[in-house]
Amino acid sequence: MSKFLLEAKNLRKTYTLGHVKVPVLRGASFTLAQGEWVAILGSSGSGKSTLLHLLGLLDECDADSGGVWFDGDPVADLKFSARNSYRNQSVGFVFQFYHLLPELSVLENALLPNMVNAGMSWWSKRAQAQKQATELLDAFGLSHRLTHRPAELSGGERQRVAIARALANQPRVLLADEPTGNLDTKTGGEILDLIAAKHRNGLSIAMVTHDPAVAARADRVVKLVDGCVAG
């Protein structure tokens, strides 16, 4: 068994914009141990979000070279349905711009991963899933907002809903892409407190940020410069 929960080795990734090839990752490697919180720090264009997307299989075009391993297994070998399951159950995503579905209520957004996972058994699992999601949202201070739409929430509240959604299926890794990037310092601090609380309960976290102060909350910081891990 691998000593790392999530591992990336020598990742290279080039995007083509029109006729121009833009190398984003140039042999970046990354490790995340079970229960560890790692901040990936870098300036804009350093390739930190691309690294996170490859770790979470959000970019279905795999890296040009190198690979990603989850719990010792190479994720590049996974079929389509297994990749969907990986995104649904093994990792949870939090984005800078929240990315909540505007037509769904707070509770429904938080339940989305459960609904996607449950299949036709959803109706029998629904009550239990709703109870868990309600408890989580209650812990995040959103019990009075369950039936509200995202448009009716503040930025901090939206990000808390997004975190609740990311944790709905109790993933082993939280992949957070600038989770406080769109929030003021105070609200950002509250969000980091929530994440830290979950980390204390054993959640492994890979968090992308360009803010050294935010990165300082992590157990370890990985600096990314021009697509390579520095130092």
Partner: protein, 562 residues
């Protein structure tokens, strides 16, 4: 727990697409636009094809009602010994009844106007044996002036309907083609031959200018034509009008009159007589030697099929029977006048007989189907565009769903359901709208046919004024959208008001062109149901293409979609 183990036990949900499709449908205005577009397309096809199909069905039903199932014709020469032919045909297992018919043209001198200069109209004159004719066609049903058959039927009539005051004699006189009070042979007019009948909105008639035709007499003039095609001296006779008939086919009701067969034969010199030998020297008393009897003749024999026998089957049986009849007559030395050979007569089914009438309508209907199928394709393109816009708008949602593990098929299924529901509901609304229009099409037509009432354009102008005032108010507050909407509403209503004010009754469905006095008002349910299915299929297809495109986008690209 091992990752691979967890992944192998995962399942793909079929629940969230239902919930999401439901939310997308109920929380946006764009699905309503798509539903409206589908509904209008479906209604358009249902209305047009239903009217055309109804028109064709009415034409066929009326044609059969008036002709029976098979017609034997020999227009100029006539068919002698037709009683024997009818006996032969009525013994056929395929035939229910047969009746002779004189079919010619004549002049009818009407009783109006007052004074000596009476109106004269040309008419298609049918000489019939009323009882036999009634067995082959629905003559008794076609007679218009008769008392209501039951209190329920009477209750359905308007209080001023003249039929409520009629007694059974008028119907009997029509059925016998005889004025029972005087014993005179009578004449039945088509409902629109005279100018005296005014059609009401409920389809009933009122005598106009006090000219109730069954109390009048007309003079009928016929021109006898010999077997060689020469014209003899016209003959005329005054007939009391005993009733009027309404077949439903305007061209027939406008042109046809009926008298008894014997009267028609007398006027056309087609009645029975003595046949003299013109070549032989005269007898001692100066008279010509007699060759035999010249039988009465008719132009046509109408035959009705027994229930379950098709017109084609009857046609084959009648052709054989006629051949045998002509052969028997030719072999009978006592009959100096022979029947025309089978090659000299035409034996046609009612549909073949009315081919000239039916074929153009059939072609027109098919042309309409093709034209409106093209319109339908345009509508399908419209639906595709709407779905394209909907899916484009939802591209980021697709990325969010993919990021939480939704499959491509799950994404596709959301939008397919979306299309399915829009197609099904839009199609249902379309069929409903089509039914509503078709059901009231004669009322709508009559309303369009009248001048617009003053209140309609005054109301339009008033609302237009209010809208324009709101537009000015919007402009002053600087809100562009409301200013524009009020302006569009104001201008539209002003144009509608002007249109209504200038509108003068327009006759769209002219019975002299379209045969029938009323527009068919029955929905063609086969077309309605197949169009509904078409709407569902086109909507699902229209949704599937952009949905498949969206499902193929990588999650991260969908999330970054602007």
């Amino acid at each position: 727990m091992n990752t691979r183990m967890r992944l192998q036990h995962s399942t793909i949900s079929r629940v969230y697409p239902v919930q999401l499709a439901n939310r997308y449908l109920t929380s946006r205005i764009i699905p309503l636009i798509a539903v409206a577009a589908v509904a209008l397309c479906v209604a358009l096809v249902v209305i047009v094809v239903s009217v055309m199909s109804g028109f064709l069905d009415m034409l066929r039903a009326s044609g059969r009602t008036l002709m029976g199932d098979v017609v034997i014709s020999c227009p100029i020469r006539g068919i002698p010994w037709y009683e024997q032919l009818i006996d032969t045909i009525e013994k056929l297992p395929e035939a229910q009844a047969a009746t002779p018919l004189i079919d010619t043209y004549g002049l009818v001198r009407m009783p109006y106007p007052e004074g000596s200069e009476k109106e004269v109209v040309t008419a298609n004159v049918w000489g019939i044996e009323p009882q036999g004719f009634n067995r082959v066609t629905d003559f008794s049903k076609a007679l218009y002036w008769k008392p209501p058959t039951s209190p329920e039927a009477a209750a359905l009539m308007l209080p001023d309907d003249p039929r409520l005051k009629l007694n059974q004699n008028i119907l009997n006189d029509g059925l016998d083609l005889m004025k029972s009070a005087t014993g005179e042979p009578g004449l039945v007019l088509g409902m629109h031959v005279s100018i005296a009948n005014e059609r009401m909105r409920d389809g009933s008639y009122r005598p106009r200018y006090q000219w109730f035709m069954p109390r009048q007499s007309v003079t009928l003039t016929l021109v006898p034509i010999s077997a060689k095609g020469t014209i003899a001296e016209p003959r005329e006779r005054v007939f009391p009008v005993v009733n009027e008939f309404k077949s439903g086919v305007y061209q027939i009701d406008k042109n046809r009159v009926m008298i008894s067969l014997s009267e028609a034969q007398k006027l056309l010199r087609m009645d029975a007589g003595t046949l003299y030998d013109m070549q032989a020297p005269p007898n001692a008393d100066g008279s010509l030697p007699v060759l035999g009897t010249s039988p009465a003749k008719v132009h046509k024999v109408l035959v009705r099929a027994k229930p379950g026998v098709t017109p084609d089957q009857l046609q084959a049986a009648v052709s054989s029977a006629y051949e045998k009849f002509a052969f028997d007559i030719s072999q009978d030395p006592s009959k100096a006048v022979k029947a025309p050979r089978v090659e000299s007569v035409t034996i046609l089914t009612w549909e073949q007989h009315l081919r000239d009438l039916i074929a153009p309508v059939e072609k027109e209907r098919e042309m309409m189907r093709i034209l409106f199928s093209i319109v339908y394709l345009v509508c399908a393109g419209l639906v595709l565009s709407i779905f394209w816009a909907i899916v484009q708008e939802k591209t980021r949602d697709v990325g969010i769903l993919r990021s939480v593990g939704a499959s491509r098929l799950g994404i596709l299924w959301i939008f397919l359901q979306y299309g399915l529901v829009i197609g099904a509901i839009g199609g249902l609304f379309g069929v409903g709208l089509g039914w509503l229009v078709i059901h009231n099409i004669n009322f709508i037509h009559e309303t369009i046919g009248q001048d617009a009432p003053a209140w309609s354009y005054i109301t339009s102008f008033l609302i237009a004024l209010v809208s324009l005032a709101m537009c000015v108010r919007g402009a002053m507050t600087g809100v562009l959208l409301s200013t524009l909407l009020w302006l569009v509403l104001g201008i539209t209503l002003a144009i509608v008001g002007a249109g209504l004010m200038l509108h003068r009754g327009t006759l769209i469905w002219d019975p002299s062109v379209y045969y029938f006095a009323t527009i068919p008002d029955q929905v063609d349910w086969f077309t309605a149901i197949s169009t509904w299915f078409g709407a569902v299929i086109f909507s699902v297809l229209g949704a599937s293409i952009p949905a498949a495109k969206a499902a193929d986008i990588h999650p991260v690209r969908a999330l970054r979609y602007e």
